[in-house]
């Protein structure tokens, strides 16, 4: 895209000093800040960095700081001590200013605290220290940012292409011993076409017999430049893309995107639309978990559950097809509401489905969950500690399987979720069975939410009265996070008050969840590692975007 005329924040202070303004960027003239509003509280005021409180409702995060590049490790360390986890790293290319911005998002696994750390680098020599020693999860995010922006992260252990194609040297980087050379160890390329990787993920395994010495996931086989596409089209045009990132959880992904745009436009979505969003999102969550359940059992060598799962999922797809016209990539939510209202058949069918699904879950429990072979395959396999989750930014059922009740629906409530009575299932063992049980219990909880949403469903319109025909977001950045089926999905839109966003960042849960695989799988047996991988519930396009 042409960005030479962009001047979103020319008056930003030099990077070495901290920002004194309450908002990250001076408000654009079209969107003046309310003069009477008190300054938002700053939960990190005690830290030696100039953190500023930010209005969460307007921006989607609680506080931020802009620091010099040489302080980036110090900030990461102090946030680590505060118990925060790394969410994602975003590069923003400010061409007009000759600068590169690196935005570090942090979240707290236990309370509503989202922190944004920014630093600016000169565009001709963008270098910043790597924080992978503090947060190992930064490894992949930094590689990705290096891919996209050429920002060099000094001290990074392996700054090779992550989503972009590997260059020719890379294949010979780790030489595979030629035929006949005696070696007890060997390299096994699991994938990109392998039944257990559920798509085009490749895991380069260094094996000693069946023991994994080192596993290196190689991503990018299905990289579609979703973020770049976001920078090339209007908000409405990008909306269908959001269904295609994690196609199993399309509703929630669209929700995050329209949520971010609505947050920027300060649109009040009608309650009926929000209820239907919750309703369809939860149906989508169940269908996503069902696919995972079947595929996970397939990984463990049990074939039959897949067909049972698809049987139930079929009913959900039929329901959603009746409303949205699609069975997988719904694009049902619109900026300001929904594309159409639900009909009586959907409501009746959903009630029927809820009634049918409960006994089915019970049956799944007795058929699969309580099976001794199944339990023996999972108990104690692939333990992931809560600390490891935090360091890698793992979310969703992975972190809840490690005993942390982190659920975006609870910690940072969005939409009308506060109005529902549901539990966040948490299992503390951290093994594959815990993650399994979290998801099974989540399906039951989703059914509860669906029932309540059906009972409470208010009448009224499903679309905001007046959505601007040409959507331009006020300059600034806007975040919106949702609890997708695989964990925390967050959208960050950096706007320069134009029809197309300046930068779209998609923080996907699968990427962070898989990034801990390298550490978690070391020393495991191959089948156990595959059980672990299955319990992470990966969707490869969600990683590669």
């Amino acid at each position: 895209m042409s960005a030479s005329d962009l001047q979103p924040k020319a008056d930003l202070p030099p990077p070495a000093t901290s920002v004194a303004a309450p908002a990250p960027r001076p408000a654009a003239p079209t969107q003046p800040l309310p003069a009477a509003a008190p300054p938002p509280p700053n939960p990190l005021a005690h830290l030696p960095f100039a953190f500023q409180g930010v209005d969460y409702a307007a921006r989607g995060y609680h506080c931020e700081v802009t620091i010099a590049p040489d302080q980036i490790i110090a900030v990461a360390e102090s946030l680590d001590k505060e118990g925060l986890a790394l969410d994602t790293i975003t590069g923003v290319d400010w061409i007009a200013e000759g600068q590169m911005e690196v935005v570090y998002d942090y979240f707290h696994p236990a309370r509503a605290l989202r922190v944004v750390v920014r630093t600016r680098l000169p565009r001709d020599n963008p270098e910043v220290a790597s924080i992978h020693r503090v947060f190992p999860g930064a490894n992949w995010h930094e590689r990705e940012t290096h891919d996209f922006f050429g920002i060099r992260f000094l001290g990074h252990p392996n700054l090779t292409p992550f989503l972009l194609p590997e260059d020719a040297d890379y294949h010979t980087h780790e030489a595979i011993p030629p035929h006949g050379v005696p070696s007890e160890m060997f390299t096994l390329n699991l994938g990109p076409q392998h039944p257990a990787t559920h798509g085009v993920l490749r895991v380069k395994l260094r094996m000693d017999g069946e023991y994994i010495l080192h596993a290196e996931p190689v991503c990018g086989y299905i990289h579609r430049m979703q973020e770049k596409m976001g920078e090339n089209r209007t908000y409405a045009q990008f909306l269908p893309n959001t269904s295609r990132i994690d196609y199993l959880s399309a509703m929630t992904y669209t929700h995050a995107f329209v949520g971010a745009v609505e947050r920027a436009l300060k649109l009040q979505v009608p309650p009926r639309a929000e209820y239907i969003r919750v309703l369809t999102s939860e149906l989508n969550r169940i269908s996503s978990h069902l696919v995972w359940w079947g595929a996970f059992l397939l990984d463990l060598g049990g074939f039959t559950p897949l067909l049972y799962a698809f049987d139930d999922r079929e009913k959900i797809l039929d329901l959603l097809e009746g409303v949205t016209g699609s069975r997988l990539t719904y694009s049902y939510y619109r900026i300001g509401g929904l594309c159409n209202d639900v009909d009586d058949a959907f409501i009746k069918g959903t009630r029927q489905f809820v009634a049918q699904m409960r006994p089915r879950l019970k049956m799944y429990r007795s058929l699969v969950t309580d099976n001794i072979i199944f339990r023996k395959r999972l108990i104690g396999i692939g333990p992931i500690s809560r600390e490891m989750c935090r360091k890698y930014g793992a979310t969703g059922p992975v972190i809840r399987g490690s005993g942390v009740p982190y659920d975006v629906r609870r910690v940072e409530p969005y939409s009308v979720y506060p109005e529902f009575d549901f539990e966040v299932p948490v299992f503390g063992e951290g093994d594959s069975l815990a993650r399994y049980l979290v998801r099974m219990e989540e399906m039951a909880q989703s059914l509860r939410i669906i029932e309540q949403a059906l009972d409470k469903l208010p009448a009224g319109p499903v679309m905001v009265e007046k959505v601007p025909r040409v959507i331009k977001l006020p300059a600034g950045d806007y975040c919106y996070a949702v609890e997708a089926a695989r964990g925390r999905f967050a959208v960050r839109i950096v706007s320069d008050n134009k029809e197309i966003p300046y930068r779209v960042k998609l923080r996907t849960p699968s990427l962070s969840n898989l990034s801990l695989f390298e550490e978690a799988s070391a020393g495991m047996l191959l089948p156990d590692a595959l059980a672990l991988m299955g319990s992470l519930d990966l969707v490869i396009p969600d990683i590669d975007r």
């Binding site: 069946e210 463990l300 060598g301």
Partner: protein
């Protein structure tokens, strides 16, 4: 009809012709069964998974195995570069032939056995050990890492399960006093409580012995939940990864031939062979009823349980099955000494 068959093949025909007839009979029996057990497996799997299964080719998909065979036969036999060609080609045959050989001593009906030899059991187990070598060679010669992992698995798995199986068989030999399968079946004449599985006065653990035998049989034939060697979600297709066309087809058929053999053996050893439980209908009928019931159980288990983990499999053998089979062995010998029949 069966009586006529029995008389005709055992009395009237000269020996070489009789053998030829049995050869053809066994080959066609195994071939048809291998083909149609695939159909049974697919149909069974479909029923367990609440779907119709093959329906297109022939009535209820009954011609599907033939279509499959035609497809496999018409496919090119790819020998990948760098493999040990001889071993690669020999391995499928090596897997198929022991099952065929072993079926020679199975008594199908009174007097209907290709060879009634007095070391029948010993022969079956002698040939049965070749199987392991076949898969191992197939996996090793394929020059594929998945295949090699599979080959290593198969060896330790089969070694582990051969021991309890043999211990159980030794128990049976002690109880029956013979290795002649025909005689073992004859001893179980009368009503169904004379079957070895119910002969609790010889050894109160006799049903357990049967369960051990059946479990080991599943493991020996690499069937779920012990299908470590194939483990498609881990090793793609294990030792068979590089095989195409009929090379794979023979492996596939051999798997069913081995199931057939294992179930026949279990029928003869424990379930009274061709003995009728109620004294009606010919022996052949009862043999096949029992045989196919066991075969169906094998299919049933496969589509119900997930795969075990490898150490779980070895633990089961070394820590549970071998001690249990030793207990039955010692108990049987003690009982036989204390209460001689």
């Amino acid at each position: 009809m069966f009586d006529w068959l029995r008389h005709s093949v055992s009395a009237w025909w000269p020996e070489p012709l009789r053998l030829l007839l049995f050869l053809v009979g066994i080959l066609s029996f195994v071939g048809l069964n291998a083909a149609y057990l695939v159909w049974v497996e697919r149909k069974g799997a479909a029923r367990f998974q609440r779907r119709p299964g093959p329906t297109e080719v022939g009535w209820a998909g009954l011609l599907q195995p033939i279509a499959d065979a035609a497809k496999l036969l018409s496919k090119q036999l790819i020998v990948p570069a760098g493999v040990d060609t001889t071993l690669f080609r020999v391995a499928p045959l090596l897997m198929m032939s022991p099952a065929l050989m072993s079926l020679v001593v199975i008594p199908w009906s009174p007097g209907l056995a290709a060879r009634n030899i007095n070391v029948g059991l010993l022969m079956i187990f002698a040939f049965g050990s070749i199987n392991v070598m076949a898969i191992m060679l197939g996996g090793w010669s394929s020059r594929n890492k998945y295949s090699i992992i599979s080959a290593a698995r198969i060896v330790s798995q089969n070694v582990a399960y051969e021991i309890p199986m043999l211990l159980v068989v030794v128990t049976m030999i002690m109880v029956t006093g013979t290795m002649n399968l025909n005689e073992i079946v004859l001893q179980q004449a009368g009503a169904f409580w004379h079957w070895n599985i119910f002969r609790v006065w010889v050894n109160p653990l006799m049903p357990v012995t049967f369960v051990i035998f059946f479990t080991c049989m599943l493991a020996e034939t690499n069937r779920a939940p012990f299908d470590m060697a194939e483990a498609e979600s881990e090793l793609v297709a294990g030792a068979y990864t590089e095989y195409s066309g009929m090379g794979f087809g023979v492996f596939f058929m051999a798997e069913y031939a081995n199931i057939l053999l294992g179930c026949s053996l279990a029928t003869a050893l424990f379930l009274g062979g061709w003995q009728s439980p109620i004294g009606v209908l010919p022996g052949m009928f009862w043999f096949l009823v029992k045989l196919y019931f066991l075969v169906f159980s094998v299919v049933w288990i496969r589509w119900t349980f997930p795969r075990t983990q490898f150490y779980g499999l070895l633990n089961l053998s070394w820590k549970i099955l071998i001690p249990a089979s030793l207990v039955t062995l010692i108990l049987t010998s003690a009982m036989m000494k204390l209460f001689p029949a």
